[in-house]
């Protein structure tokens, strides 16, 4: 089903995002006050007729007020490098179109509270990068990058080798601590399964383990 997205401002990121959405068969409106940004996305028009470029100041209240958002608009995505601009556009959109989903890029994590106060969904890349770097510093197996509950919950990816305690054991015989569970098992050949008590863990397997943060050491100890 074709859906409609508005992308507001942003340069390289807007290009990649628009391309992705267009490839999925969606309709994309790209709005920018900067000619140079529009030129970046102009190249996509050759392949995608469902892309429309609009040269417009997105903080113009009259323009927002008169937007024709009757057709099914999935989301308004505001991704300039200027948080204040993103905030103004988000706020204005929320004033006129309460029901529309607004997603805003937040460049400085400190500004996130502002966007939350007007009930806008936020993307905070610096937070993600922090998580990624932190997790790779603390446990090299942790895949916390995609984990929104990273403060309390760890998602571990543990590779089993022949010398490990869990090798050749049934899941029920592995003595995992409370508040931890092996959620997914990935065999050497790429087969993925949700293991049960009788599943035998083999060398070469990768285990995805969910565990409370303070149990991580015990989990590793029980398996490795």
């Amino acid at each position: 089903m074709s859906r409609t997205f508005y992308i507001i401002e942003g340069s390289g990121l807007a290009y990649s995002l628009a391309k992705k959405l267009l490839l999925l068969g969606n309709r994309v409106f790209y709005v920018s006050d900067k000619k140079s940004n529009l030129e970046i996305l102009d190249g996509l028009k050759i392949n995608f007729s469902s892309l429309e470029l609009i040269h417009q100041d997105p903080t113009d209240i009259c323009w927002i007020e008169n937007l024709d958002l009757d057709r099914k608009v999935e989301a308004m995505i505001i991704i300039s490098e200027d948080d204040a601009l993103n905030f103004v556009v988000s706020w204005l959109l929320k004033q006129f179109f309460k029901e529309i989903k607004v997603i805003a890029l937040v460049n400085s994590p400190e500004d996130e509270i502002m966007f939350q106060s007007i009930e806008v969904e936020t993307i905070v890349p610096i937070r993600w990068m922090e998580k990624l770097i932190e997790s790779s510093l603390i446990y090299e197996d942790v895949t916390d990058f995609f984990n929104p509950y990273v403060d309390k919950l760890s998602i571990l990816e543990i590779s089993i080798e022949s010398k490990d305690k869990a090798n050749c054991k049934k899941l029920k015989d592995v003595n995992l601590p409370q508040n931890s569970i092996i959620g997914v098992l990935i065999r050497k050949n790429g087969e993925i399964l949700v293991p049960h008590g009788e599943t035998v863990i083999l060398s070469g397997d990768k285990l995805i383990v969910l565990s409370l943060k303070d149990k991580v050491d015990e989990v590793v100890n029980a398996l490795k």
């Binding site: 209240i61 204040a84 905030f87 103004v88 706020w91 400085s108 400190e110 500004d111 502002m114 106060s117």
Partner: protein, 138 residues
């Protein structure tokens, strides 16, 4: 009490912020905030009596930590209308009783501030009004 000494916070120490600070500091307690230390040179060169504070004006969290409630007036005078809006909106959200006046550089952006019930002043519009008035009075 017309002569009461007031606590005034000025966010943005550009040409307008510094002029305002220098005028007001004669009779009031003035605190000027800017992200760039160099901008305070405009004040120090001109016998400023008051406080300066370096703070990233983009950092809403840090601004919220200031004792803005204690101020009788907060002027937000950066050259960026969007930033002025975000700051004023955030301060009003924190406490609607804080007196805030934001500078609007582009007269076309006035409606956004009106819609959010934020007090503002528009120097360009004021100058134009004055000029028109002067010519009509001649």
């Amino acid at each position: 009490m017309a002569n009461k000494v007031k606590i005034i916070i000025i966010i943005g120490c550009g040409k307008m912020g510094s002029e305002l600070a220098l005028k007001l500091c004669k009779d009031h307690n003035v605190i000027v905030i800017d992200k760039d230390e160099k901008s305070f040179e405009r004040l120090t060169k001109n016998n400023f009596v008051g406080f300066t504070k370096i703070l990233d004006t983009n950092d809403m969290a840090a601004l919220m930590d200031l004792d803005l409630e204690k101020a009788d007036m907060v002027y937000i005078v950066t050259p960026d209308d969007n930033l002025n809006f975000m700051l004023a909106y955030g301060i009003k959200k924190l406490n609607k009783d804080i007196n805030v006046a934001a500078r609007v550089n582009d007269p076309a952006k006035k409606t956004i501030f009106t819609k959010a019930n934020i007090d503002f002043f528009c120097p360009i519009e004021d100058s134009v009004k004055n000029l028109v008035k002067q010519i009509e009075e001649k």
